[in-house]
C-alpha cells in the first residue's frame, strides 16, 4: 500500500547522536543541525529529528562548514525537506486548489441551511475533481516517461492522490453532506463503485467477449455487479446466461424477479424510512423462503447470489477477492442486511467488517485506520492520522478548512494558541514560501489566518529573493496592500541601493519615491552633486529636469532641482531670474553649507556682466553669505593654506565690491532720464 511505503526512517546521514549532543535551529525552509562539544552519556535512537507534526519526508542532509582541525571537529548540517512542491505535475493541484480555497473564503456566509450545504458540497466536489485531474496528468506522465526512477515516483504519486481522493470523498459523504439514513447507503455505494477499480479490466473483458456467458469469468462479473448493488447490469448479464441455458429458465426468472424487486433507498422524498424498512423486510423474507425451499439448489452460482441477497456474511466473505477491500465488504453487508443504516451506526459495522475481512491475517494499514476514524466520525483523528502519513500539508490544510466552514470543528486551542485550521494553513503556506514562484499562493493563505497569518507573512515576505524588478514590484504591491510599511521601506531600500551601485540613479530615485524615503533621496542628490562638482556638468539631465513634485521629497533633492533650474535660466540668458534664484538658494537655506562656495563662484559671472544684475540689497546679502562662510571657519586650514580658495574669496570680494559700487550709482541715478 502506498501510504506505508512513504514512511522512511528519519535519519540525518552523518549525524551521530550517540557520540555527540546535537542541537538544532529552525529556518524558514530548513533545519540547521549541528554537533556540540558535549559528548553523549547514553545513546538515543536518531528517529526524533523530524519536525513536529508531519513525518514521512525523506530528509537529505548536507554538510556545511568543516571543523577547525581539532580532534573533535564540529559539523553543521543543513536539513532540507524534499518538497513535493517541486514536483511539476502537482503545481496544477496547488494553483487550482488555491482558487477554490479563495472562492470558499469569499463565499456568502449569509446563505443558510440547505443552500449553504449545497454550496459546501460543490466546493468539496471541486477539490476532488482537481485531485482527479492531477491524478490523470500524473498517470500520463508515468506512462510517457522512460526513466524508471521517475516512473516509480509518478506511480507512487498516483496512488497517493488516489488514496487522498478516497478519503476526501468519504469525508464529503459523512461530514460535509452529512448524508442521512437512506441516501447514506446510496452515496456509499457510489463511493465504492468509483474507487474499487481492480475489477474493471475483468468486467470489460467479459462484456466485450463474443458470448459472455461462456466466458470463464462470467459468474465473477455477475457477482461483482451484485456485490456493488448494480442490479440492472447483473440482470442484463444473467439474461444472456438464461437464453443460452434454457434448463435454468425457471430459476433465472425467480432470481431476476427478486433482483428487480429489491427495495433501495431513494434520493427524493418518495418514501419514508419506515416504508422502506417494511418493504425491505418483506422482500428479505421472500428471498429467504426461496433459499430454504432449495429453489436454486441445482445452480451453485445462483444459490450463492441468493445467499448474498439475504445478507449471508459467509457467502459475501467468500467473494473476498472480488471486493478487494474491507470497506467494500462493509458497504455490501449494509446493502443486504441493513440498507437504512444511520450514520451513527456505521462505526459498529465498520469495525466488525474490518475484523472479519482481515481475519487476523493482515493488520490494518494507515489508510484503513484513517477510513475507520472517518466511519467513527472522529474528525480530529482523521486529520491527525493524515498529517502523520502524508508528506505535505496540502490535504489536511484544505480539508480542515472546509470542515471548519461546515462549522464542524470545535475550536480547541492547540499548544501554540491558534486553532487546528489555522495551524495547518500556516504550515502549508510556509511550505509554499520556499518555492520560487508558488509563494504568491501562500500570501492568500496567510491572509485568512486571523491570529498569526500577518506575522508569518511579515517574516516570510522579506526573504523572497528579488531577482528582477518585476518580482520586487509584486512583493511591494503585496506589502502595500496590507499596510506592511516596514517591509515596504526595507525592500525599497534594497532595490534602491542595488540601483545606486549599478549607477542607475533614476531607478534609485524611483524606488525612494515609492517608499517616500527622504534619507535615500538625499543620498542620491548628494551623488548627483558630487558628480557635478567633479565633472562640471550634470549627468542624467532627463531625470533632474523632470523631477516634478517628487522634488519635495527631500531638501537636498529640492536643491538639486532648483540648482539645475538656475543653470537652465542662465543658459537661457534670463539673468535677473537666475540671480534671484541663486540668492534664494542660499538665504532660504535650501543649499547645504558645503555647496555655498560653489554657488558663490557661480555668482561671479553674473557679477561681472556688463549690465548690473544684482541689486544693492542682493549684493549685501551675497556679501553677508560670503562672510558667514569665511568667518565660520577661522581655523580651517583648508581656507588658509589653499591658494585657490583664498584667491576665489578675494576675487569674490572684489567682484562684490565693484558690483556694489555700480549698483549704488545706478540706483542713485534718477530713473527715466
Amino acid at each position: 500500500a502506498p501510504l506505508t511505503d512513504t514512511v522512511p526512517p528519519q535519519v540525518v546521514p552523518g549525524a551521530d547522536p550517540s557520540a555527540r549532543q546535537l542541537c538544532f535551529a529552525w529556518g524558514p525552509a530548513e533545519v540547521l543541525v549541528c554537533e556540540t562539544l558535549f559528548g553523549r552519556a547514553g545513546g538515543f535512537r536518531s528517529r526524533c529529528l523530524a519536525g513536529a507534526g508531519a513525518a514521512a519526508r525523506a530528509l537529505t542532509g548536507s554538510v556545511a562548514g568543516t571543523g577547525d582541525g581539532a580532534p573533535s571537529s564540529s559539523r553543521v548540517f543543513v536539513v532540507r525537506r524534499d518538497q513535493d512542491i517541486y514536483i511539476q505535475t502537482l503545481r496544477k493541484l496547488f494553483n487550482e486548489s488555491h482558487g477554490i480555497f479563495m472562492g470558499l473564503q469569499r463565499s456568502e456566509e449569509e446563505l443558510a441551511g440547505k443552500s449553504r450545504k449545497a454550496q459546501l458540497v460543490q466546493v468539496s466536489k471541486n477539490y476532488r475533481s482537481v485531485i482527479r485531474a492531477c491524478m490523470e496528468d500524473m498517470h500520463q506522465a508515468a506512462i510517457s516517461t522512460r526513466d524508471p526512477a521517475l516512473q516509480g515516483q509518478y506511480s507512487t504519486q498516483v496512488s497517493i492522490l488516489s488514496a487522498m481522493e478516497l478519503i476526501w470523498n468519504l469525508c464529503e459523504i459523512l461530514f460535509v453532506e452529512a448524508a442521512t439514513a437512506g441516501p447514506l447507503l446510496l452515496r456509499l455505494l457510489d463511493w465504492v463503485r468509483l474507487h474499487v477499480c481492480d475489477v474493471d479490466s475483468m468486467v470489460r473483458e467479459v462484456l466485450s467477449s463474443e458470448s459472455p456467458s461462456k466466458h470463464k469469468l462470467f459468474w465473477n462479473v455477475v457477482d461483482v455487479f451484485v456485490l456493488q448493488g448494480r442490479m440492472d447490469e447483473a440482470r442484463h448479464l444473467l439474461s444472456k446466461e438464461a437464453s443460452a441455458n434454457p434448463t435454468s429458465m425457471n430459476m433465472y426468472k425467480i432470481l431476476d424477479d427478486l433482483m428487480k424487486k429489491m427495495p433501495v433507498p431513494s434520493l427524493g422524498n418518495t418514501q419514508t424510512l419506515t416504508e422502506l424498512e417494511l418493504k425491505w423486510q418483506h422482500w428479505h423474507e421472500e428471498c429467504q423462503r426461496y433459499l430454504h425451499d432449495g429453489t436454486f439448489a441445482s445452480s451453485p452460482h445462483m444459490e450463492s447470489i441468493c445467499k448474498i441477497l439475504v445478507g449471508d456474511e459467509d457467502a459475501i466473505l467468500e467473494k473476498k477477492e472480488l471486493m478487494t477491500t474491507w470497506y467494500h465488504f462493509l458497504v455490501t453487508r449494509l446493502l443486504y442486511s441493513h440498507p437504512t443504516v444511520k450514520p451513527m451506526e456505521l462505526r459498529f459495522y465498520a469495525q466488525s467488517s474490518m475484523d472479519l475481512f482481515l481475519g487476523g491475517q493482515s493488520s490494518p494499514e494507515p489508510l484503513d485506520m484513517i477510513l475507520m476514524a472517518a466511519f467513527e466520525f472522529e474528525m480530529h483523528q482523521v486529520i491527525k492520522e493524515c498529517s502523520i502519513v502524508l508528506s505535505n500539508w496540502w490535504f489536511v490544510a484544505h480539508l480542515t478548512d472546509l470542515l471548519d466552514h461546515c462549522k464542524l470543528l470545535q475550536s480547541h486551542n492547540l499548544y501554540f494558541g491558534s486553532n487546528m485550521r489555522e495551524f495547518l494553513l500556516l504550515e502549508y503556506a510556509s511550505g509554499l514560501f520556499s518555492h520560487h514562484s508558488l509563494w504568491q499562493l501562500g500570501v492568500d493563505y496567510f491572509d485568512h489566518c486571523p491570529e498569526y497569518g500577518r506575522v508569518y507573512l511579515e517574516l516570510h515576505i522579506e526573504r523572497i529573493p528579488l531577482s528582477t524588478e518585476q518580482k520586487a514590484l509584486k512583493v511591494l504591491r503585496i506589502c502595500e496592500q496590507r499596510q506592511m510599511h516596514e517591509q515596504v521601506r526595507s525592500i525599497c531600500k534594497i532595490m534602491a541601493m542595488k540601483a545606486l551601485r549599478n549607477n542607475r540613479l533614476g531607478s534609485a530615485l524611483s524606488w525612494s519615491i515609492r517608499a517616500k524615503d527622504a534619507a535615500f533621496a538625499t543620498l542620491i542628490s548628494d551623488r548627483f552633486l558630487k558628480d557635478y562638482c567633479e565633472r562640471g556638468c550634470f549627468s542624467d539631465l532627463d531625470l533632474i529636469d523632470n523631477l516634478g513634485p517628487s522634488m519635495l521629497l527631500s531638501d537636498r533633492l529640492t536643491f538639486l532641482g532648483k540648482y539645475r533650474e538656475f543653470h537652465r535660466l542662465y543658459g537661457e540668458k534670463r539673468f535677473p531670474e537666475a540671480a534671484r534664484l541663486l540668492l534664494t538658494l542660499m538665504t532660504a537655506h535650501i543649499a547645504p553649507c558645503s555647496f555655498w562656495m560653489t554657488l558663490l563662484t557661480d555668482a561671479l559671472p553674473l557679477l561681472e556682466q556688463k549690465e548690473v544684475i544684482f541689486s544693492a540689497e542682493q549684493t549685501y546679502e551675497l556679501m553677508r553669505c560670503l562672510e558667514d562662510l569665511t568667518a565660520g571657519n577661522p581655523d580651517k586650514k583648508k581656507f588658509q593654506d589653499d591658494d585657490v580658495e583664498t584667491t576665489k574669496v578675494e576675487m569674490l570680494r572684489l567682484a562684490l565690491a565693484r558690483n556694489l559700487a555700480r549698483v549704488i550709482v545706478k540706483e542713485g541715478t534718477v530713473e527715466g532720464s
Binding site: 479563495m102 514590484l473 531607478s507 524611483s510 532627463d542 516634478g548
Partner: protein, 335 residues
C-alpha cells in the same frame, strides 16, 4: 528553475461552443528550455519568436512547423547588463522587445536601447545610458522611431535615424512621476498612444501636441502590466493588471456607425464614410469623457485572484496568462 517557451494549439476555430472559452482545451505542441524569466516576447515572423530574458539575453527561437519543434536560432548574450564596476550588483533584465521584421529593438533595466537585425551577430546600434532609470517597454511609432516608457513616468520618442543619443521628445505625467509599465500605439492613427502606470492609471497621449497626456483614466488598483489596442478594431483597448483584472475598453459608438471588426486589413472602414463618422472615430480616444457614455468598460474576468501578467488580442481571439499558472483563451471576444 525550469522556465520554458511553449507553443500551444488552441483548437479549431470552426468549433463554436456555448461560450468560446472552454471548447477544446489548448494542447501543447512543443516547448524548449529558457534561461531566466521570460520578460517579454513577440513574433518576428511566421516562424520566429524573439524572447527577452531576465538574464539580459535576447534569443530568437524558430518554430519548425513540419515536425513541431522549437530551436534557438540566434542569441544575443548580455544584450543588457550593468557596467562592470567593483560593486556591480547582479544582472540587468531585458524588459521589453518589439519587432518590425527584420529589425528588433530591446530595452532593459540598464537603461540601454539596442537595435538588432535578425541574423546579424552584433547589435546594429546601441544607445548606452539612454535613460537613467529602468526602461519598461518599447514600441514602434514609425518605422524609424520608437517610443519608450521608464520608471520615472516619462514617455520618450527616439529617432533611430539620428546619431545623437538623445530622445527627440520627452513627455511626462503631471504630478507624481509614477512609473510607466507599458505602451501601445493606435494601429491607424499614429499620434495616439496609450500607456499604463504603476498606479493602474491608463493615460492617452496625443504626441502631436503638448507634453502631457490628453486623458487620464483611473483604471486598475495596481500596476497595469500591458495595454493593447485591438489591431484591426482600434476602438477597443485591453489592459491587464497586477490586481487580477483584465479590462476591455470600448469606445465604439452606435451600431450603425461601428466598423465591423470582421474586416481584415489595417484600415478602419470608417475612413471611407463621410466626415461625421470620421470625426467620431478620430476623436474617440482623444476627446473621450467617460461621463458622456461613449465608453464601455468591462472586466472580462469573473473571479479574479492573482495578477494577469500578459495578454494579446487578434481578431476575435483574446489570450491572457495569470500568476495562477493558467492561460485563458477566449475565441469569441465580440460575441
Amino acid at each position: 528553475q525550469d522556465n520554458r517557451i511553449s507553443i500551444w494549439s488552441a483548437g479549431d476555430l470552426g468549433n463554436a461552443g456555448l461560450n468560446g472559452e472552454y471548447h477544446g482545451e489548448p494542447h501543447l505542441l512543443c516547448d524548449i528550455q529558457h534561461n531566466g524569466d521570460v520578460m517579454d516576447m513577440q513574433f518576428l515572423d511566421q516562424e520566429r519568436i524573439v524572447v527577452a530574458s531576465s538574464t539580459g539575453t535576447v534569443t530568437v527561437f524558430r518554430h519548425h512547423q513540419n515536425n513541431q519543434t522549437l530551436s534557438a536560432d540566434h542569441r544575443w548574450e548580455k544584450a543588457h547588463y550593468h557596467v562592470d564596476q567593483d560593486t556591480s550588483c547582479g544582472g540587468a533584465a531585458c524588459t521589453g522587445v518589439v519587432c518590425n521584421n527584420p529589425e528588433i529593438v530591446t530595452v532593459g533595466e540598464d537603461g540601454r536601447i539596442n537595435l538588432f537585425r535578425a541574423d546579424q551577430k552584433d547589435a546594429v546600434r546601441t544607445i548606452d545610458n539612454a535613460d537613467s532609470s529602468t526602461l519598461h517597454a518599447v514600441t514602434f511609432l514609425r518605422t524609424t522611431e520608437i517610443l519608450t516608457v521608464n520608471s520615472i513616468g516619462q514617455l520618450k520618442i527616439w529617432d533611430l535615424r539620428q546619431q545623437r543619443n538623445e530622445p527627440s521628445q520627452i513627455f511626462s505625467l503631471a504630478g507624481d512621476r509614477v512609473p510607466l509599465h507599458c505602451v501601445d500605439r493606435h494601429p491607424n492613427q499614429q499620434h495616439i498612444v496609450a500607456t499604463g502606470g504603476q498606479d493602474g492609471m491608463l493615460s492617452i497621449w496625443d504626441i502631436r501636441q503638448g507634453t502631457m497626456p490628453v486623458s487620464l483614466l483611473n483604471a486598475h488598483e495596481a500596476e497595469m502590466w500591458e495595454v493593447h489596442f485591438h489591431p484591426s478594431d482600434p476602438d477597443h483597448l485591453f489592459t491587464c493588471s497586477e490586481d487580477g483584472s483584465l479590462w476591455h475598453w470600448d469606445t465604439s459608438t452606435n451600431v450603425s456607425e461601428k466598423p465591423s471588426f470582421l474586416h481584415q486589413g489595417g484600415r478602419s472602414t470608417a475612413y471611407l464614410s463621410h466626415s461625421t463618422i470620421n470625426q467620431s472615430v478620430v476623436s474617440a480616444w482623444l476627446s473621450n469623457d467617460p461621463t458622456k457614455d461613449r465608453m464601455e468598460i468591462t472586466n472580462l474576468i469573473p473571479n479574479q485572484t492573482l495578477s494577469v501578467n500578459s495578454l494579446d488580442v487578434l481578431g476575435p481571439c483574446l489570450v491572457y496568462g495569470t500568476d495562477a499558472e493558467a492561460i485563458y483563451v477566449n475565441r469569441q471576444l465580440f460575441a
